[in-house]
């Protein structure tokens, strides 16, 4: 009997697992992607779409993953192929479960590179190297630091090159993952998450007390920054531009925020050349791109569809609560995103660059974080210190996320190949190191990173999440799933979530996925015209891109590797032969 007792890795405490899941969800997207999206689409309309997506996609999938993970963990499975195998006798689910390995492993390969940028920027800000007079200078440093200017140029090891930071963060991640679930991930998140919150509060206070940093530009203020981010009605100044036939097209010149700019815009609109237009919340809500952006934000922000929550939950005990824990981890992510990210980044940028300056510099994740904000901190009083805090905060957020991306792979190697932790870490370390080297070497225009992010970090996640919720609602059964979720629960899931999980969430996800394909893959615009997105033309266009092809080949290679591994795991076949899932 004694020989049958095995050592099982697990969580030390409930707060530990909540912090680990929250840490997995809170990443650089909370502080850079969310503010950019909300400001672009108008705070009011975006928040309506965002909250809708949170209730219809975020919470249901989150609870489903927690319940499925804990249930499958009770059968001794901690990785997606094994877990999906528990819920169906067919072999298809366990092969779809390979997505739950490919997604985190591939994302880790480029995410650790971005993590190294955060650490590098923190060090360079603290040592006073990041003083840029213009956004173009900040962009030039970014290209040089990340190697975006030329393939192979990221492999330098000077203090203003990414190489040395990459080695440091890669080593840190694997050291923590080697220490195990409780001594590594949980231990780190117990310190990192509270530290992250403290840093964010310090930066938030600094930003909200900026007022009007330059008296000569009173329109560049924190208040206008908050308005740019949260005002429900977007106001634009438009210019009449005649074409060759004399037909006039109205082109947006700038967004108008604050009474001073509004007064100037109204004065300009006295001439026939300009006009001021207002886009209401209701008009913005008719924009499918905004729904896509809001759903995508919820999706990626909560780390649903990655296979991570499933894996983390599989280490819970039978009567550990999953409902309140899931909601707490989710709410921690929402707090960091809306209450901290939503009040820091854009208001600070507008206070120094103005609305037009920020819009000109770009509001994508990388533009906002690594072009705009270094400029902002170099102009801010005490900016060297606060800039360091901000990039260190991003670094902590990134580490807690990247750690979670390693655990599913480790869990599979331990469970499927019966390897010990040391062997699993060594194998996964080699696989991810080769992938990361590929991403770093082909750094020109960040092509490899961008291609992997699109096909894995967006496309595959949609597929995986849709499959998961169908498995939960239709194969396992939503009633059985909810009974399982309520075992040991500290609170109840509202009854309305039953039909939501079974019908609404899959339909909503499929709808968003169709929108994604139409707009982001087929490149259809509002005029009904279509031009295939560059991600497709890079592969099958007239001039295929070599790096894009190699990136897709890397995804396929990793996928085939895991499929072959999964097909040889006796434990999965034996599970159903021995009677399958226990009823308890």
């Amino acid at each position: 009997m004694a020989s049958s007792i095995h050592k099982k890795d697990g969580w030390n405490s409930r707060m530990g697992v909540i912090l680990a899941v929250a840490g997995s969800a809170v990443g650089i997207g909370n502080f850079l992607r969310f503010p950019g999206n909300a400001a672009q689409y108008g705070g009011g309309a975006f928040m309506i779409a965002y909250i809708t997506a949170f209730l219809l996609i975020g919470l249901p999938i989150c609870w489903a993953e927690w319940a499925m993970g804990r249930r499958a963990g009770r059968e001794g499975f901690n990785s997606c192929p094994g877990m999906f195998n528990v819920f169906s006798r067919h072999s298809l689910p366990k092969y779809v479960g390979v997505l739950g390995l490919v997604i985190p492993v591939i994302i880790y390969m480029y995410y650790v590179y971005i993590e190294a940028w955060c650490l590098g920027y923190a060090v360079n800000t603290l040592t006073g190297r990041l003083h840029f007079p213009t956004v173009a200078d900040a962009g030039a440093f970014f290209s040089s630091f990340t190697g975006a200017s030329e393939n192979g140029s990221a492999l330098g090891f000077k203090v203003d090159q990414v190489g040395v930071y990459l080695i440091a963060v890669f080593f840190l991640n694997f050291l923590l993952i080697y220490r195990g679930l409780s001594k590594g991930i949980e231990w780190f998140c117990r310190y990192a998450m509270p530290t992250l919150l403290v840093l964010a509060f310090v930066i938030l206070i600094r930003v909200l007390t900026l007022g009007v940093p330059h008296a000569e530009h009173p329109q560049n203020s924190v208040l206008n920054g908050l308005g740019f981010m949260w005002n429900p009605t977007k106001v634009y100044l438009e210019e009449a531009v005649p074409d060759d036939t004399g037909l006039i097209t109205w082109v947006r010149v700038s967004e108008v925020v604050g009474p001073r700019l509004r007064k100037d815009a109204d004065a300009m609109a006295q001439s026939e050349r300009y006009r001021v237009t207002e886009v209401s919340v209701w008009k913005q809500l008719r924009n499918p791109q905004m729904w896509l952006a809001a759903s995508g934000q919820i999706f990626f922000s909560l780390s649903i569809g990655f296979g991570i929550i499933l894996t983390y939950a599989s280490y819970l005990k039978r009567d550990d609560d999953v409902v309140l824990s899931g909601l707490t981890a989710t709410s921690a992510n929402e707090f960091c995103e809306v209450a901290l990210g939503g009040l820091i980044t854009v208001p600070a940028a507008v206070a120094f660059l103005g609305v037009a300056g920020l819009a000109g510099a770009g509001m994508s994740t990388f533009a906002l974080g690594f072009h705009v904000l270094p400029m902002v901190f170099s102009e801010m009083i005490g900016g060297q210190f606060f800039g360091f805090l901000f990039f260190f905060l991003l670094f902590l957020a990134a580490v807690t996320s990247s750690l979670s991306m390693l655990q599913p792979g480790i869990a599979f190697l331990e469970e499927g190949l019966a390897l010990n932790r040391r062997q699993s870490v060594a194998i996964l370390g080699m696989i991810t190191a080769m992938g990361t080297l590929f991403v770093i070497y082909f750094s020109e225009g960040l092509k490899a990173l961008d291609t992997l992010d699109f096909w894995v970090g967006t496309f595959m996640i949609f597929v995986m999440a849709t499959f998961q919720i169908i498995l939960f609602g239709w194969v396992w059964g939503v009633d059985r799933g909810l009974v399982e979720a309520h075992r040991g629960a500290s609170m109840s899931i509202p009854r309305v979530f039953g039909p939501i999980m079974k019908y609404v969430t899959p339909l909503f996800l499929i709808g968003v996925f169709v929108l994604f394909i139409v707009f982001n893959v087929l490149g259809v615009n509002f005029d009904g015209e279509s031009s295939l997105s560059s991600y497709v033309t890079d592969l099958i266009g007239e001039h295929p891109d070599r790096v894009a092809w190699m990136s897709v080949s890397l995804i396929l290679l990793v996928g085939v590797f895991f499929v072959l591994m999964v097909s040889g795991v006796d434990k999965y076949r034996d599970f159903h032969r021995k009677g399958g899932r226990r009823q308890s």
């Binding site: 049958s4 007792i5 409930r14 409780s182 309140l324 909601l327 707090f335």
Partner: protein, 59 residues
């Protein structure tokens, strides 16, 4: 910043803050997890054998 902007911002920030605070308080007060209050500064009991499950299997 317009009145609508203030309402949206305060509503959004307030609601997520309230949700987060309520969840944390509920977790802290939850009677089902007495080990939360028992652990020391750096708890070191990660690899407990899951005897119940193994006994289940062996039966």
């Amino acid at each position: 910043m317009t009145t609508g902007g203030w309402l949206i911002m305060l509503g959004s920030v307030g609601s997520v803050t309230l949700l987060f605070a309520c969840c944390v308080i509920k977790v802290m007060k939850d009677p089902f997890n007495p080990e939360e209050t028992l652990h020391g500064f750096d708890p070191d009991t990660p690899d407990m054998p899951d005897e119940e499950e193994d006994l289940d299997r062996s039966l």
